[in-house]
């Protein structure tokens, strides 16, 4: 068997993911399962806990300097909450951090979410392997962009 894909950037730092729950929504099983799976795949995971405002999530992402933000929403308010999150990230100069969303999202909402800048939407039934791989790719992409940027700026 080949070795699992790396969860570290070229400089050796592990990929860092923020796993967050937003809004009035107590269903955290999914978020915890995903957090655990990411940890087991070698990621550094920061879990914010329940009932966060989009502003709190954005600030946590900035303070922790994460590579990917993963949000779980099962209460139907995803369009509203994600719009606020994306706005706050932009305000903080952190809209380069890729955002993914998981939960009970009607298919019809996927398009507007992607237009907002949400990179991936994971519907119920998505395998952990797929989530891990997509998160890993997004982290990898962000890190290589930083490398490139450093070269340009330097």
């Amino acid at each position: 068997m080949s070795s699992p894909p790396s969860t570290r950037g070229p400089e050796g730092r592990r990929y860092k993911v923020l796993v967050a729950k937003m809004g009035l929504d107590g269903h955290d099983r999914g978020a915890k399962v995903v957090a655990r799976a990411l940890r087991d795949a070698g990621f550094e995971v920061i879990y914010t806990g329940l009932r966060q405002t989009p502003e709190q999530v954005a600030m946590a992402a900035v303070q922790e300097d994460v590579d990917v933000i993963g949000v779980s929403i099962l209460n139907g308010a995803h369009l509203h909450l994600m719009r606020r999150l994306m706005r706050k990230l932009e305000e903080l100069g952190a809209d380069d951090i890729p955002v993914v969303l998981g939960g009970t999202i009607p298919v019809i909402d996927i398009e507007p979410l992607k237009k907002m800048g949400v990179r991936e939407v994971f519907l119920p039934g998505t395998s952990l392997a797929e989530i891990i791989e997509k998160v890993r790719r997004l982290a990898e992409e962000k890190r290589s962009r930083e490398e490139g940027l450093a070269k340009v700026e330097g």
């Binding site: 940890r39 550094e44 995971v45 879990y47 946590a60 303070q63």
Partner: protein, 327 residues
């Protein structure tokens, strides 16, 4: 990343851009030219903040207590930074850092900055990362820097020891009188807290602890008598008393000149850790290149083979001298 972009990040961070501060912390998290660059630029501004270590057994309520303490420090007008040290999985090397979960009420407050540090996977080790981040926070005007740690293991003890003020947190039913005080960082507290004091047995635990404190040898032996405070973080009780004790200890350290001495020794330690990281990186490289040779030698002649350690050390030293960047 060259000097110009580091300068730019520092400039932005000084303007209050939190994103820039988050990036700077990442740059100093691992040893290397970038960490060195950032530290040399920020350190002249640092040296004013009080570094407060919160340590104690898992489940004693440290994170919740720290969150309450932040609220009180904010009311007193201080900017607060928190370094939450969370354990990594020894299996995958990954980690779930959940300490900040208890402090998320402060996430939207621009006067509070919380950063998690995993116990594994940092090239220069946990202590280097934590000490370097302290310098950055200090330089950027954070008045109180709280480090939350379980206080077990050499690195965590080192980090706690580098704090100006050590707060040891225990709780009722966490073992008998001196279970907590047996060894390690528990012995060197400046302030002892019995948290969860709304629970039965809290008075007994406090009395035990008081007895232990009155015996000799507890505390850092700097003329300060360790304080004992009872709190209930969940109920919000005793927090003012605890913050008063933290402030009192800070005044004591400043009046006696110990505050500056603590900063000096913290910086000596950081310098040493950075040097170690440099040597270790070179050693890893050399070992990787010589692995076949070492393995063959060990197979052939076990008694003589360990003398290879001398060769490895010398080669690593040569590599450092040549100035190859091991990162």
């Amino acid at each position: 990343m060259k000097a110009s972009s580091v300068d730019r990040l520092i400039e932005l961070a000084l303007e209050g851009k939190l994103r820039a501060l988050g990036r700077l912390l990442t740059l100093v998290e691992h040893p290397g030219p970038e960490a060195l660059e950032v530290l040399s630029r920020v350190a002249p501004r640092a040296g004013r903040a009080q570094v407060i270590g919160f340590t104690g057994i898992p489940g004693a309520g440290k994170s919740t207590l720290v969150s309450r303490v932040i609220t009180h420090l904010r009311r007193r007008g201080y900017k607060v930074a928190v370094l939450a040290i969370d354990p990594s999985s020894p299996y995958s090397g990954g980690s779930i850092m959940g300490d900040r979960l208890r402090m998320q009420e402060h996430a939207a407050d621009p006067g509070v900055f919380i950063r998690s540090i995993p116990t594994r996977g940092l090239k220069g080790g946990l202590s280097m990362a934590a000490l370097a981040m302290i310098e950055v926070f200090d330089a950027l005007g954070y008045d109180k820097i709280i480090i939350e740690t379980v206080g077990v293991g050499q690195s965590e003890v080192d980090v706690a020891h580098a704090a100006h003020t050590i707060v040891v947190v225990t709780m009722p039913g966490a073992g008998d009188d001196i279970q907590m005080l047996k060894a390690g960082v528990m012995e060197i507290g400046d302030i002892y807290v019995v948290n969860k004091s709304d629970k039965p047995e809290a008075n007994k635990t406090a009395a035990y602890l008081q007895f232990a404190l009155e015996k000799e040898g507890i505390g850092r032996g700097e003329g300060w008598t360790p304080r004992l405070v009872k709190t209930s973080a969940v109920m919000g009780q005793g927090i003012d008393v605890l913050v008063d004790a933290i402030e009192e200890h800070w005044r004591y350290l400043k009046d006696t000149g110990l505050a500056a001495r603590r900063v000096a020794s913290r910086r000596v330690l950081l310098t040493r850790l950075m040097a170690e990281a440099r040597l270790n990186a070179a050693l890893s490289e050399v070992l990787e290149e010589m692995r076949g040779e070492v393995e063959a030698a060990l197979e052939k002649d076990i008694s003589g083979a360990f003398t290879l350690s001398e060769v490895l050390a010398r080669r690593a030293a040569e590599r450092v001298l040549k100035g190859s960047r091991a990162g």
